[in-house]
């Protein structure tokens, strides 16, 4: 037992029939840390979370949350926002939040006060006495988010929390996630949106085909990729048609509008790309070599 860890999973294995959903999975997340759980759809993220919360049982392995097994008491100190989420449509928003708080052991009166404050903060105060079904999807999602943090959990598990929100609300929720962290809560953020993970997470864990392929602090992961020769080139040019389709040089291209983010093939130096561009008669406006983005590291790992 380690009281300083928010999550400790050891050798988690879960199988549905012959299909392995989670294979020998380890994970440690310290308190007051935001950790990204990354991976393509169907990699096993949701199953891992469900096992962690004892919603489904693992075939083997051990789970420790906030220094204890996932007992009802431990689960009351956790806030979970699942990817598959909804609200009771006929319930009034404030009563619904009260109920969700009650399920986590928050007395109704306390839950009511906190819920009112949160609704105020998320611009939903006017909707407190409306039925959940009358809210827009984005509003419902904010209400679900309030339900997750209402009982001031020590561990937040958020599965794709920003999907379907407009940019303003994404920023608002990010701000709250960061506040929760400074309050001392650990956050496990499951997503396949690399940009968000990159901006929020100090640590990332990547799952692919039920197995962990990457685990550590983001800065270290980036540096390792740099040391391993992974580069990202930002390139803006006129002409040079066909250059970026040259598979002997370029592994992957992301069109960012103002420029291309290019991942090079293994063993190819950025200089070679620039030379090839010049040779093709392109006018290069911008050429920058940098650490690979999480997206590129992810794509590279996912391709392995």
């Amino acid at each position: 037992m380690d009281g300083n860890l928010a999550i400790r999973l050891e050798n988690i294995h879960k199988q549905y029939g012959t299909k392995v959903a989670v294979d020998d999975f380890d994970l440690t997340v310290p308190r007051a840390t935001i950790c990204g759980l990354l991976g393509p759809n169907g990699a096993g993220k949701t199953t891992t979370i469900r096992v962690m919360l004892d919603i489904i049982g693992a075939d083997s392995g051990s789970v420790e949350l906030l220094g204890q097994p996932p007992t009802p008491e431990a689960r009351d100190r956790i806030g979970y926002l699942p990817e598959e989420r909804g609200l009771y449509p006929k319930m009034k928003v404030l009563e619904l939040l009260e109920f969700l708080g009650e399920l986590k052991g928050t007395p109704r009166r306390v839950g009511r006060q906190r819920a009112s404050r949160w609704l105020e903060r998320l611009d939903l105060a006017d909707w407190a006495d409306k039925k959940a079904q009358d809210l827009s999807r984005g509003m419902q999602q904010k209400v679900q988010f309030i339900g997750t943090v209402l009982h001031e959990p020590e561990l937040l598990i958020l599965d794709e929390p920003f999907s379907g929100l407009d940019p303003l609300n994404v920023d608002l929720l990010k701000e709250i996630v960061l506040e929760e962290k400074s309050r001392g809560a650990a956050v496990l953020l499951s997503t396949h949106n690399m940009d968000q993970a990159e901006r929020l997470c100090e640590r990332v864990v990547m799952i692919k085909d039920a197995r962990k392929v990457l685990d550590g602090p983001l800065t270290e992961i980036r540096r390792e990729a740099w040391l391993a020769g992974q580069r990202q080139v930002l390139l803006a040019m006129e002409g040079g048609a066909g250059l970026l389709e040259d598979r002997s040089l370029v592994a992957d291209v992301e069109d960012r509008g103002v420029c291309f983010a290019v991942s090079l093939q293994e063993g190819v130096e950025p200089q070679q790309l620039l030379e090839a561009a010049m040779a093709a008669g392109a006018i290069v406006h911008h050429f920058q070599v940098s650490e690979p983005s999480l997206h590129e590291i992810f794509v590279a790992r996912a391709r392995e």
Partner: protein, 417 residues
């Protein structure tokens, strides 16, 4: 425990506050009374109707006696003479009159009627009450009187001989005996129908409750806080409390009406209201059987709800359970006819039928005291079985969406759940 209470309160409030609850609370007794009053009213009207009948009397002797019988004397049947002519022609003419609506029907009396020949009745409506309870007694009396007269008996002797005997029925009970004019059977039938209605009503409510988390996608949020058994128990108790509230309102209103009726002179004279087999004991048994019936069927409906992933799908899957509720309804006539027969007794012990059939037998006053602990033990054992199986299906089913499980898969859920 506080979580369980939170679930119960939510389930309860979510239902009691709806317009649906208020509408059903008011409408159900109205419908119930309507469903019973309309057939009675129709029967009463039917018995007041005067039927025009004609008679072809080939014997040439019976018609006079027939017209002297009560039904013709009192005017329930009105005699219309047939036209003259060939028998075949007369029959055809009467047939046309029946079809045209001028006649309700006609009797054909053969020449051999005194030697044992039958009488025929031709009409548009040939209901059993008309034929068995009106025409047969009248023609039988007419034939007897005629035969007695032909034997040379005095008219007063003839009247004595052909007098119809009335049999007065008394139901033997622990307290003694009660004059029976069908009121026990009516009460038994009503109580059985009421149990059927409320069990079906709240069972179906449980079906929707069980599928609610899946249909609204709240299941994972809820399951990260409570255990499936807490959720299911909370739902069952919450919906059950809704049922008790509704029945409580109905009983209170019925009680007030009875109090009012007892005070009102108009009802005080109604003999039917006296000797009703209704007391506190019947009320307690009713509530007890409602509760056990609700738990048995609520558990079954909840299991069905757990298999489905939407309310629509759930209502398609509920048929086998609903069939189980309907079967006792079809058996009621047997129990009402002979409540002490072995078949009636044993059928009323079968846990799925007990709520409806046992209350009927109790109202008829034929239940032995030792049967009550027996059936409640059986009810509780069944509830435990249903809860065990249903709980396992519910636990696995909650997180399953999309594909409906096959029967072997369902068995696997139950075994490994």
């Amino acid at each position: 425990m506080s979580k369980l209470i939170a679930v119960i309160r939510r389930e309860y409030m979510a239902r009691v506050r709806t317009r649906w609850f208020i509408v059903i609370t008011i409408l159900a007794p109205v419908l119930m009374i309507g469903a019973m009053a309309i057939p009675v009213a129709l029967l009463v009207r039917e018995s007041d109707r005067v039927l025009a009948v004609s008679v072809i009397d080939e014997s040439g002797q019976l018609l006079e006696e027939l017209l002297a019988t009560e039904v013709f004397e009192e005017g329930r049947l009105r005699y219309t003479p047939p036209p003259d002519g060939e028998p075949a022609m007369v029959v055809e003419a009467l047939r046309q009159q029946v079809l045209g609506g001028q006649l309700s029907g006609f009797l054909y009396i053969g020449a051999d009627v005194l030697e044992g020949g039958a009488i025929e009745y031709w009409g548009r409506d040939v209901g059993l009450t008309l034929v068995d309870a009106t025409l047969e007694p009248a023609t039988t009396t007419a034939v007897r009187r005629l035969q007695a007269r032909m034997l040379g008996l005095e008219p007063s002797d003839v009247a004595q001989l052909t007098r119809e005997i009335e049999v007065a029925a008394y139901r033997v009970t622990e307290e003694g005996a009660a004059r029976e004019e069908g009121q026990s059977a009516v009460v038994a039938h009503i109580l059985a129908l009421m149990i059927y209605m409320v069990v079906l009503l709240y069972g179906a409510m449980m079906l929707r409750a069980a599928v609610a988390e899946k249909a609204t996608k709240t299941v994972e949020i809820i399951l990260s806080s409570v255990r499936p058994w807490q959720l299911m128990l909370g739902k069952t108790l919450g919906v059950g409390a809704v049922g008790l509230t509704q029945i409580g309102i109905w009983l209170a209103v019925a009680g007030l009406l009875l109090l009012y009726a007892a005070g009102a002179q108009a009802f005080a004279d109604v003999e039917f209201m006296q000797d009703l087999p209704l007391g506190v004991d019947t009320g307690l048994l009713f509530i007890g059987l409602f509760l056990t019936g609700y738990f048995v069927y609520g558990g079954l409906y909840a299991s069905v709800g757990a298999i489905a992933s939407s309310e629509h799908e759930a209502s398609q899957l509920q048929f086998p359970v609903t069939l189980l509720v309907i079967i006792p309804l079809l058996i009621i006539p047997i129990v009402l006819e002979s409540p002490t027969s072995n078949a009636s007794v044993i059928l009323s012990w079968i846990p799925f039928f007990t709520p409806v059939l046992f209350i009927a037998r109790y109202a008829l006053g034929v239940v032995e005291v030792w049967e009550i602990p027996l059936i409640f033990t059986l009810q509780i054992l069944t509830i435990l079985c249903v809860a065990w199986v249903g709980g396992r299906i519910y636990r696995v089913g909650l997180l399953m969406t999309g594909k409906r499980p096959t029967l072997p898969e369902l068995v696997r859920w139950i075994r490994h759940g």
